[in-house]
Subunit: 329 residues, 2 copies
């Protein structure tokens, strides 16, 4: 729609009943159809939220001050807004919308606030953690497509906490990255490395998100898990994690990340494995195969899901760059 077509109304005497419509009109003067649609839905929901709760001035002010604190505690190594999104279930929801998975592929999980781009690249067999207190855990993985063909040259980010449940970036005096690494799958689609057995840990709860959890009588714990992120041109970006079966927080993850298909059992190294991978007999082993989906397949599935969902909602939309915008034609 040409911006010149927007008839800007007289913005006076706005009240409970007409403020939403007028805010949407004034926000519709640009040419970005997607931005206009997102802002229209945002303003509608924001205003309906206030109307349905009869939000008071003091609640409004408390909420805005809370959001300031969420922003101000954030830093290069702490993203409290991701954490807030995580505990409100938004992160899981957005991942499910944007990265739909065919039945045979590896499901996604929450990114969390602790991924960093500062990590050493290692090769098969190397250690990705220096924590001597952690219980050694050999991790042996393969990456395939949905037909079972290996995918080589996939960039894999892996990160986990140390044995006390803290990521490297949570230490103010750290020397460099630890408990994280970047690998490439080899020509058989394999990658393997030495880590430690993940432990459950509370998400950072010394900030505003922790205060909110406390107000809501919710615990801040995540079950023991190891994060994985997969990137290769042509393949849908996969952010996921593996969770240890039997963890006390397996069914009550504070950030809703657990999926049945991502819950794994640890094995123990037999003699052959111990010799082949250079670990002690009887030490812990995590074996898992990851299944990636092509960009094309994901895009097709995302488009189909989007159109089906919009139809169910009764919205007349078309897809622009694979994202819904109102269909005004």
């Amino acid at each position: 729609m040409d911006s010149s077509k927007v008839q800007v109304p007289v913005l006076k005497d706005l009240n409970i009943d007409n403020i939403t419509e007028n805010t949407i009109i004034i926000n519709s003067q640009g040419n970005d159809a997607r931005l206009k649609y997102v802002m229209e839905r945002l303003v509608t929901h924001l205003h309906d939220f206030a109307r349905e709760t009869r939000l008071s001035t003091s609640e409004w002010m408390a909420a805005l001050n809370f959001l300031v604190r969420v922003g101000q505690i954030s830093s290069d190594v702490r993203h409290e807004f991701i954490l807030l999104s995580d505990i409100l279930g938004l992160s899981l929801l957005v991942d499910a919308i944007d990265h739909p998975k065919p039945a045979s592929s590896t499901e996604g999980s929450v990114l969390g606030p602790f991924h960093t781009h500062e990590a050493e690249t290692i090769v098969n067999g190397q250690e990705m953690t220096s924590d001597p207190q952690g219980e050694p855990c050999l991790v042996i993985c393969k990456i395939t497509d949905v037909q079972g063909n290996p995918i080589q040259g996939v960039k894999v980010d892996i990160w986990e906490t140390d044995s006390t449940g803290h990521y490297d970036v949570q230490y103010s005096e750290r020397d460099g990255p630890d408990g994280r690494c970047v690998m490439k799958s080899d020509d058989k689609g394999d990658f393997w490395f030495k880590a430690i057995v993940p432990v459950p840990y509370p998400i950072p709860h010394d900030g505003p998100v922790g205060q909110l959890l406390k107000l809501l009588n919710r615990h801040p714990w995540r079950p023991a898990h190891m994060h994985f992120m997969f990137e290769k041109p042509g393949w849908d970006h996969l952010i996921t994690a593996l969770y240890l079966r039997g963890d006390p927080y397996e069914t009550s993850d504070a950030v809703f990340g657990v999926k049945q298909s991502l819950v794994v059992d640890l094995g123990r190294a037999d003699e052959e494995t111990a010799q082949q991978y250079g670990v002690q007999v009887g030490s812990k082993v995590l074996r898992h195969d990851f299944v990636l989906v092509s960009d094309a397949e994901t895009e097709k599935l995302r488009d189909e899901n989007a159109l089906a969902a919009m139809k169910k909602l009764g919205r007349n939309v078309k897809l622009l760059n694979h994202l819904p915008v109102p269909d005004l034609d």
Copy 2:
């Protein structure tokens, strides 16, 4: 509801369709009925927003990074989240909900991000600004109840920009408060002071809110106005402003604050006025009477409006501390 009654579900395999219900249940373990209701509506709208827009991961990340920037540019003298609320029409809406006005009373307007508690108390006749470039403006006001009876002893906060359109707190090297004051209405309900003629100014647009306005092809201007805030126990807290008629931004205020009843004409001091108030003949004069509403009357009107609105929305609620909560009885 007793928290022990909440049956916490197994939080595994959450997906697009079941994440909302489960987030709401896990958020309902506390005993604060109002918090539970507000969180239920918040999560519902947040998730519906993501579902209706099919929000992408990159849009989600851009939004979270935007919110971090909004928090981080905020300070003791700059509240960018209030500014964001202002330009999204939320501030106007919340004020209208929380401070309903009977027909004969003074309407409210947006607080804006520039009120501070650091202001000198002055008495009738004093100046509240030291800007020699501003055009002098004598302001003569009275405060009454809806029957026209004067109200004495009302604490009045007044603040305006200097002649360049900047509030004192926008100068990094300011010595102290300027262009703002606190007064008390006298035994006739009167207060009067020397100010300058307000000028239009852009809201701060060097930060993330300014970037958003630019993306939306919106201007950041506010029409010339002077802020007033009234407080006295027993009377509903009134936040308002007076706007100059004929301002170029009178009908397109970036923060939706203008109301017809708050638009005023400036007069000029005749000989009698000049002599009585110690100003020059022909200098500008702003006369305005403010009408406050009692707490009791406001509360009654707020309750009635809330129940009527909830009924219209088909929600079964009761009022707890004058705010809606689900009626589970």
